[in-house]
Symmetry: C2
Subunit: 477 residues, 2 copies
Amino acid sequence: MAYFDAASAEPLNTAARSAFLSAMEEGWADPARQYHDGRRARMLLDAARETVATVLGARPDEVVFTGSGTQAAQLGLLGTLAGRRRVGAHAVVSAVEHSSVLHAAELHEAGGGEITRTVVDRTGRVDLKALEAALRDDTAAVAVQSANHEVGTLQPVAEAAELCAARGIPLVVDAAQSVGRVAVPEGWSVLAASAHKWGGPAGVGVLVVRKGTRYVSPLPYDEREARRVPGFVNVPAIVSAAVALGAMATTSDDENRRLSLLVDKIRERVPRTVPDTEVVGDPVARLPHLVTFSCLYVDGEALLTALDRAGFAVSSGSSCTSSTLTPSHVLEAMGVLSQGNVRVSLPQGTPEAEVDRFLAVLPGIVADLRAVTSAGGAATVPAPDPAAVAGQAADEAVPADDVPALVLDTLGRRCPIPVIELARHIGDVPRDAVVAVLSDDEAARLDVPAWCDMTGNEYVGERPDEAGGMAYLVRRS
Amino acid sequence: MAYFDAASAEPLNTAARSAFLSAMEEGWADPARQYHDGRRARMLLDAARETVATVLGARPDEVVFTGSGTQAAQLGLLGTLAGRRRVGAHAVVSAVEHSSVLHAAELHEAGGGEITRTVVDRTGRVDLKALEAALRDDTAAVAVQSANHEVGTLQPVAEAAELCAARGIPLVVDAAQSVGRVAVPEGWSVLAASAHKWGGPAGVGVLVVRKGTRYVSPLPYDEREARRVPGFVNVPAIVSAAVALGAMATTSDDENRRLSLLVDKIRERVPRTVPDTEVVGDPVARLPHLVTFSCLYVDGEALLTALDRAGFAVSSGSSCTSSTLTPSHVLEAMGVLSQGNVRVSLPQGTPEAEVDRFLAVLPGIVADLRAVTSAGGAATVPAPDPAAVAGQAADEAVPADDVPALVLDTLGRRCPIPVIELARHIGDVPRDAVVAVLSDDEAARLDVPAWCDMTGNEYVGERPDEAGGMAYLVRRS
């Protein structure tokens, strides 16, 4: 099995595993107790905090350990917002933050706060102009990740920090994907990270609050972890996490260079060997170990299943792989293709041969899946009465000359069917004529325009359809 | 080293340790992923949930895993209160709940909610009449622990549940101290527990919400763990926790009987061999492995240090062992002596010889400490002008004939000095005369009346003193 999902969880580092076992023997007692076993646990905890602080460029007393990276990121945002309540209840978050940050923002909204979600460019990079424009006198906090977890694009943290500093607004940085791999740029006020992303065990997050940053815990009071994280402190896991971070921080330069070359190989090879494929994210300013691409006309879930059968563990942002049947919010914010989406994230030590095998089997797997899905077909319905459509179009501000020559009814059918039907039938209409794809699949909103981009056709727009879904209008070029 | 602090953390069970190691190999991946390693982690997680549910008498889909027992207890109370917001914002908690529950209640108060803390008797048992009287039409939840964590007294959970059920109020039970050792009585709506209290690893709590109980998560949204606990699920630790619980549940009857006899031995022997000592908590309706006693005229921190030097790890509810220099809220609610307080909680497998050695060294240790502290002395100040005191006493509703014949100024001196001075000088006044102990130590409020109980003198009352502290009045009998 080739495990290519390090962005979900990096396998436990060997030294970290040994440290975990030792600390289970020596650090299991309550570090708040004054007896021998408690003092020993406390010493291990202090040493681990010192190691983590050093790697993160922080003071030990700025670092607390949480129960997960998600908890760290959520506390980071909510605690900073609570600490600046008097300034206001407005926060700015990038649209491509990890769901843990976005969900924390939603909770803030539900409690009466206000959130501005700022746009990104097609590589997933935060738009600094939009960020600057979103800052207000009542902005209590800004959240920008260090690097995107789905497409690997590095974010302009230093520049965002300058914009925030100019207005005295704290910048909260979710650095879960980059800590241990890429140095976090200066300027943040609050930083969150997750041990199992850097080869530590599950169950350990890190929250760093710079001295001078106002922070009010949203959780019940507890004396432990600087009053920021209630509950018994999990010393063995924290010791292991610190060892893993130390190990990755000292070895990562060479290893990252090697992984980055493997990623370059994937970025170069996949579009050449798999037709109708788009590699997304910034090709240069990116995480060393992560690459994401999307394949037209392919069901993402089927692709993951086929890759799993071939011995590859990857993840996907395609709608069919999510429980809500919506495409990844990151791909959506970038405006890129979401169907047949594959994220490859290479753990430390990935052999080049595994990547080569992946590149060797992928084209056949995609071709097989395309052969299966293209065997189906949508009901092609006659074009509606032009007058009626024109009337509706006027309401929806779609020009009257966009009356479709062909309507493809794919209602009730999921990604990638709407796009497959569009590709199959676009040739049925004359050049400059419009095809309408009726769909109630959320992915179509992203994938029909993306398909137009990739194939050189013109995306006209969308409008609600009487039958319940949306009509996505495409002009044949 | 004899570790007698199982109530803080039971050492990791051997089978649970092996299971942890296996699950680190087989259950490290994200259980939400569809590839092989993810599915395997999912299966391990499902099996662990099933084991825990079976032991707790719950359905697997009622059980979620949290990052700690504290998190489980806090979510249990706050989520139930949020789920019943329409009924009201009033909650009833016993005064002897674990601090995690009390701190959650304080957060609810800070958010505009109302909390009634109900009294307990001298054994620490929840007073059901007081509990019933506290229930109101707008009571959204009641929290009663299964057993007290400091003195071991079992709480009348079944009876409390009946009172709640009669009014349709959910009962939240923090069962952290009893799960695996004593069956939890029926009738609860929400249950919280902590794996490292039953021989599992740190980092795993359990929250059980009975079907039909309204629960609204106070945390940001997350798909995992029934939307109740955000963050990556720590499968290896959860698997280990389930194995530990299964192991304890199957072996605990015999072992508990054995530990209970050892506790009986301590309860019987300590008051006989250590003068002026009070064993607290219910002698019969109690946890099998836990016993707490207090020693007059002894500094709790010094006692812990001396026991640690002699090779015994115990904890204490004495004020001098807390960072806030206040006595344990449990001892305070019970109205029992807090000085020289020692909690002994025996882990599974404690050899009887260790308990015997403890009983052998304790009398000498206490005697030595008493010899040291009695070498000091308070300033004995002349009795104040009776007229002035009488005037002040009238204001404070202390009868005028309680004008002290002797005032002991112990301002600025900590527990156990105020009580030591009282004991030393009570013989200086005639029978029926009053001694005033001036003290600004919080523990004196608890320990002066407790000393009167133990020595047969009469506690008259307290009144604020001009010098800044309190005057505690004692009539010599």
